[in-house]
Symmetry: C2
Subunit: 498 residues, 2 copies
């Protein structure tokens, strides 16, 4: 059943149960696991580890690519396994533990984790746990639906546990392009100049003797839960596509727009779906996660190539895509997240980065992570990797939340993840603000006039105008700057009178 | 006198007075001028422009490399010439006009201005005004003490005014390396892999017929005004050098540390001076501005190569260095600021970026620009270009200001230029906080214990501990988060009781 998946015969003796493999993980260890946007995470070993920890307490520091699926972060949190966690997560149980201070969470730009490991600025993993579709004749590891940080974790770790997941189609092999930057001070340029370039290997090259255990599993990735477009996300998509049409009309962008990156979530998904009906042709993606919309765009004949670090699909799309992978395979590549998100490549290619904001302020500073300035939602993810170096840094959000109790546009954000220097375009269902080349007072005018919900436009304009009378390059009334957030915390609404 | 400096004879007929050249600049134009950290700015034409505007009002949008010397921003502001200004400045008169809303100032990452011009996201300059030591036989422009954005301004502008400044030593020729990234979508990697690499041309290549005027000037750059180390800046330098020693001892850094970048100012200067007495050898710099300390390090035999975008020296050092330039010339190069600050190169080389903070907060967010959250000081400059992609992002400041009325470490910064994701090391005269791999609550502990002045340590610790009882990944008490800033605004002191 799995002998064709472990093609170096000497490794067959390393096949063992998940429980046996999990026993290699000791209290206090640093562990690097595969998994990115709930795709391609090791499944059996972390579950066995959580079960063991319920009997025999242990704590580890856990690094992944990004989020894990199959409730693994939940199980590990409930079993008390996680002392430290980085660089991203999306699990509500883990989120609670992060916010109550039980788990130390390091929220990182997704391109930076392995760079810091390479420089020994973070502790190297003792063990890597990597999901694979196969181990090659050379003992190299072929990842599944994500690459994430798996390659560098396997290279840096002393020992590697491989989970061969039979639920994944074996023909995923050939999809991956594993490129690892060389060491400083003799590092050379990343030789990627086009979205479709293949610059690395098809599998993760490690010495076969580092493989300490092979576990056979058979469990699919969790399906994605992206909501279909609603009238508001559709309006956001329409505003952005109208803007793109204008850029093409003035010659600032070509009719293929340039490589697109879209974050996770329903709004980014609506924007990508909107491109199906658009006049643009020959689109490309250079993104982190490839979602249903990527394949919808392929099927519509709009997309010519997609590069990512993972593929995360809905239950419906999953069987269609992976059951017919040959249809897409020559137009797809999965890369390490260090490369999918690398500032060098993002700047070179001129990416259009579309990411979701929790809230933004008058001047275009964006909060992507912290509810009420204090409580972590998921993490910054790759949004900063893209926004800083993008050709266009676009942030999208609905203008209000919680039935109008919350305005997503506020006088001052309660937490800053992206400074106004890194934000070009803001879009809500109300409209689009093009902030390029504007000074802060001009940015405020564009944002108030275009993005704010009518219920909050008057109060925000009032704040801005009173702030301007006090002067300053970026006018504020510090005594009132946090008031909407404080009101929300204390009364459940940002404005009493609305 | 200047015929050996204008080596294409057909251009000699373009020689005219500054007043005649300034007349080419019309009301409403966008003008790109040379000048970076008060080095190499065009001097005669902007002065003539200011004089003319006093008689005959006109307004322009002015872009430079960074700051101008010789009070030019002051004169242009007083004459009412500046409608818009980007991407950096240091002049107190202009600062006032920016803060009262008279001049629209666009505060940009210094690597990004010409990228935005290249993509037509900013209006291209109608005219460029570039200081030069010479015009070559091909009509190419040899810059003086800075490259800044001059090359791209000259390439993008319809017409170019060249100021041949006889006050600069002609042997500056040969110091510059002009490399311009190719256009997307066929852009290739920047082929720079070592600090000392020369990858471009010695002069700015433009068609000679674009040169509309040549003005002969004879006025030196303004001298720098860096203060010598005092006991506090010396303590900051000592803490950082001790930290470097530790990194070398553990093998995380080699004995040449890696390429150094140091911002402008007395603290960064003290750190660089501190390296003279350090055990490190074979140092290199890959920075924006090369100051006195660069040449002190050369003379001490500590520095093997320095790459920058400008040279700004004190009156004392100016004659010594430029009078003996042959002594240093083979160990020096000046590049466009797009290349000196380019994220691709900064990440590849693994730069140690040392920049000055106005203030930072409990969690390591840094304010580099806005006094009291509203009033622009100078601009973000290159600090973000370096901090985001550096091997080590270091920010330095004295722990208190105004005789103890102000703490530079606050509960929440009043403005964010560098988020906690981008800040590795914080240093005050009190000590050094190493934030690498720490979660926010751990960062706060390291900062309070190491960086805060004793007068503010108790109150800050009290805030942090009370915030932690309320929970959150990044605990805050929003009602109090801005209180120290509000106190300062209203009473002149951050804490009443101190």
């Amino acid at each position: 059943m799995y002998r064709d998946r472990v093609r170096l015969p000497s490794l067959l003796e390393k096949v063992m149960s998940a429980e046996q493999a999990a026993a290699l993980i000791e209290d206090g260890m640093t562990v690097g696991m595969s998994g990115f946007t709930r795709a391609g995470e090791a499944k059996a070993v972390p579950r066995a580890l959580a079960e063991r920890a319920r009997q025999q307490p242990l704590k580890i520091s856990l690094m992944t690519g990004a989020s894990l699926g199959n409730d693994l972060d939940k199980q590990l949190t409930e079993a008390g396994v996680l002392a430290r966690r980085m660089p991203f997560q999306v699990d509500s149980t883990l989120r609670k533990a992060i916010n109550d201070g039980t788990v130390m969470f390091i929220d990182q730009h997704l391109s930076e984790t392995v760079e810091q490991l390479r420089n020994h600025q973070l502790k190297l993993p003792d063990i890597a746990v990597i999901e694979a579709v196969a181990i090659t004749e050379q003992g190299h590891i072929v990842p599944t639906t994500s690459v994430g940080n798996s390659a560098s974790f396997a290279i840096f770790a002393k020992r590697v546990i491989v989970e061969i997941n039979l639920a994944h189609n074996a023909n995923l092999e050939g999809l991956h392009d594993i490129y690892i930057p060389t060491y400083r001070p003799t590092r050379t340029p990343i030789p990627l100049t086009r979205v479709e370039d293949r610059i690395g290997l098809g599998a993760i090259p490690i010495p076969a003797e580092k493989i300490a255990a092979i576990v056979i599993s058979n469990q699919p990735d969790s399906p994605s839960t992206v909501l279909p477009p609603d009238s508001e996300t559709q309006a956001i998509a329409d505003h952005l596509i109208d803007f793109f049409k204008g850029e093409v009309a003035t010659g600032r962008m070509s009719n293929n727009l340039g490589p697109l990156q879209a974050g996770i979530g329903s709004i980014a998904n609506a924007v990508m779906c909107g491109l199906i009906e658009s006049p643009f042709e020959g689109l490309t993606m250079y993104s982190e996660v490839l979602q249903d919309s990527t394949f919808d765009l392929f099927d519509a004949g709009k997309l010519s190539f997609a590069s990512g670090s993972s593929i995360t699909l809905s239950a419906r799309r999953n069987a269609e895509v992976f059951g017919n992978l040959e249809k897409y395979k020559d137009r797809l590549v999965l890369r390490p997240q260090e490369i999918s998100n690398h500032p060098e490549v993002v700047r070179r290619l001129g990416i259009i980065g579309i990411n979701t904001a929790l809230e933004f302020d008058l001047y275009g500073n964006v909060n992507s992570t912290h509810v009420g300035g204090t409580r972590m939602m998921n993490g910054i993810g790759g949004s900063g990797d893209f926004a800083r170096n993008a050709h266009l840094a676009v942030f999208v959000t609905k203008s209000i939340a919680k039935g109008g109790a919350i305005s997503s546009v506020v006088p001052m954000v309660s937490h800053v993840d992206h400074t106004e220097h890194d934000v070009d375009i803001l879009v809500t269902e109300q409209g689009l603000a093009d902030l390029r080349g504007l000074a802060p007072r001009e940015r405020a005018r564009a944002i108030i006039d275009n993005c704010v919900h009518p219920d909050f436009r008057g109060p925000l304009n009032d704040y801005f105008e009173r702030a301007c009378t006090r002067g300053g390059h970026t006018p504020h009334i510090l005594r009132e700057a946090m008031e909407w957030h404080i009101n929300l915390e204390e009364t459940g609404r940002m404005l009493a009178a609305v």
